[in-house]
Amino acid sequence: MANDPSGNDRAIQTVVIVGGGNAGWITAARIAARNGGDMPSAVQVILIESSTVPTIGVGEGTWPTMRNTLAKIGISETAFIRASDAAFKQGAKFVGWTDGSPQDAYYHPLNPPVGATELNLSPHWEMLKGNLGRSFADSVDFQGALCDAGLAPKAITAPEYAGVANYAYHLDAGKFTDLLRDFSVQELDVRHIVDDVVDVRMAENGDIDRLRLASGAEIQGDLFVDCSGFAALLIGGVYQIPFRKCGHILFADRALAMQVPYEDEAASITCHTVATAQDAGWIWDIGLWARRGTGYVYSSAHVSDDEAEATLRRYVGPAAEALSARRIPINSGHRESFWHRNCVAVGLSAGFLEPLEASALMLIETAVDVIADRLPRTRAAMDMIGRQFNAAFTHHWDRIIEFLKLHYVLTKRTDSAFWRDNVAAESIPDSLRERLLLWREHPPAPQDFSHAPEVFSWPSYQYILHGMGFETRYAGLARVNREAAAAQRWLKKVEAIREEALRKLPVHRELVGKIREYGLQVV
């Protein structure tokens, strides 16, 4: 092997990233933080950012995974919150998805149900729900109460990245990119080139050898990460990897985004994403430090652009008069494979889905977890890692599409064609239909999911199923299993934790203000 003529034993020394949006900079920062440095074996990271292609920047909601990602990069939570105008996010509230009645709303909190490592509370809740008088989410967890009360998931005395309740963030995507770029260049020695890729030179074996830039410079690399967004310069442009559309499952194909200022400086900051169902889609509403972000995600087959804009403006209210809306295309789907030869696609070049469960940034992080933490040491190792990557992400995309569809198929709304079409049999993937049959009799459980870690795990499915009043027949399971006493204990515990959390946790805006003023401590 030492003298392998194919060059397969050549060490991976240079990673070239094409694209300077969130995907590009998260990738650059993570790889450099993990594999860079002063050692002789350190990897050099180069990021080429076009001067002419604007970034999309709609990923303004994260998952809790972002805490880990930032910590691994080495950015302090205080610096991140200040620079990105970030606020906390404790889950999503889905309004009007089930029947559209005025009281129709449920939470998908970020906390798992209590006792989730010990037992499955779902059947017990079904048996006891008459007495409990609380929704599933409020019976098995306390986070919905925090959201309702506008309270933060932690106090100013909590260390960075730690909290009483699980949390993620809402952030300003443009400012976040700036932070990542500055940190990558200044602290992690990422080489930043602002130039346009005009040509791709291939090696004899079919790998990408180097990129030629408009300035005439040539950039050679061992691994190329395609973060070029919808353009998909390498994975699509060079390798022609087919794009698998899923618009027949998830109908939304457009979004209209509007940034809304707060009424005043003391206005409360909502600590969860609000997703409100509309005639032909849904409107997101997220709270940042300095403004709200809203947007209508809709199906152009079910509503015209003008009508959609009118709907968004109606939702925002009088404040919308002075505001403009930005159109974003949603071409739902993903590549058939993501890692091809010495090229891997991360971000929009890999695929895009409506932001219903904030999967965009999470998918970038999950991809980079593999690429940075198991950066192939040699070209020989790359093919196998690439195959593993492709298998994992084909699985992830399928599961995410199904999970998003789950929010639609459980609707009882029949008031518009959009909702009626969403329950049409031909729009529902077979695997989801099978799971729904199973989940009528058995609650979603770890055994239902083959991949570890699964991006949406069984508790998320339970929150959606029960939140939308999916008819289940679990009560018998609760009677025959021997966990009834433990279940009662856990459900009682939720009451106690909720009471304490409501008493002790600060108002969301107050906490973010304090973090901006005093900072959080590392320990």
């Binding site: 100013i156 005395t157 304090k514 005093y518 401590q521 590392v522 320990v523």
Partner: protein, 240 residues
């Protein structure tokens, strides 16, 4: 219940204060930089987060698992040193008050047998004037301690401290929310950081804070002498 109001002659003209008489339930006191060595002769010195800002304060610890001052016995302090922030209670600085002071009207130090705040014709007493001077010194001194602690934080020396007390019959009681200087972190400081701390005269204090944890044993003994709940032993856990 504390009720802090700016001092004014009309409201507080006849008020008297018995200095230090509010010690019974005091669990800790803020320390100034200059008090460190003196306080370490009596108390464990720790860092604790300010509930309002989350920033670290340097404190002398007076209590363990019960909300009472273990150095307070028979209605008096039993310690060789009294931190000045405890000695100046129940007064706080407040520019809106007479002599730039406010008072906690809920304090147990307010007593008819005490020293008057005002003389005749609403003139502030020497006691009030001295207190203002002392409080200003305390505030400066505490600010210096805070600057030092901020520097410890920057050098990643501050570590979470958990005290685990074993009671009779093996029950355990945990005291969390305190922080100390990590020995290991202190030992592995780089040359530049050591010099930086030394030149600020903060290296010695870091060692004193860490060593003062031996006083936990003294608190345990004081506790056992005055409580039915006997603490058989304790363990210190520092997350290095």
């Amino acid at each position: 219940m504390s009720r802090v109001v700016p001092i004014n002659a009309a409201r507080h003209g006849s008020l008297r204060v018995l200095p230090q008489a509010d010690g019974a339930n005091r669990r800790f006191a803020l320390l100034g930089k200059s008090e460190l060595a003196l306080a370490a002769a009596d108390f464990p010195l720790c860092l604790a987060k300010d509930a309002e800002t989350g920033r670290f304060n340097l404190i002398a610890l007076f209590s363990l698992i019960e909300a009472r001052n273990l150095f307070w016995q028979g209605a008096a302090w039993h310690a060789t040193y009294l931190p000045r922030s405890a000695a100046t209670a129940p007064f706080l600085l407040d520019p809106a008050g007479v002599c730039g002071l406010a008072i906690d009207e809920g304090s147990a130090a307010i007593a008819t047998a005490g020293t008057p705040l005002f003389l005749e014709r609403d003139q502030p007493s020497d006691y009030l004037i001295d207190t203002q001077r002392l409080l200003n010194e305390v505030v400066d001194d505490v600010a210096q301690a805070q600057a030092m602690v901020d520097c410890f934080v920057t050098h990643r020396l501050v570590r979470p401290l958990t005290l685990i007390f074993r009671e009779e019959e093996g029950r355990e009681q945990e005291l969390a929310g305190l922080y100390t200087i990590g020995d290991e972190a202190l030992r592995s400081l780089g040359d530049e950081a050591v010099l930086d701390l030394h030149h600020s005269d903060w290296l010695g204090p870091a060692a004193i804070i860490s060593a003062s944890l031996a006083q936990i044993e003294r608190l345990r003994q004081l506790h056992n002498a005055t409580s039915e709940r006997q603490l058989v032993s304790y363990a210190l856990k520092v997350e290095e």
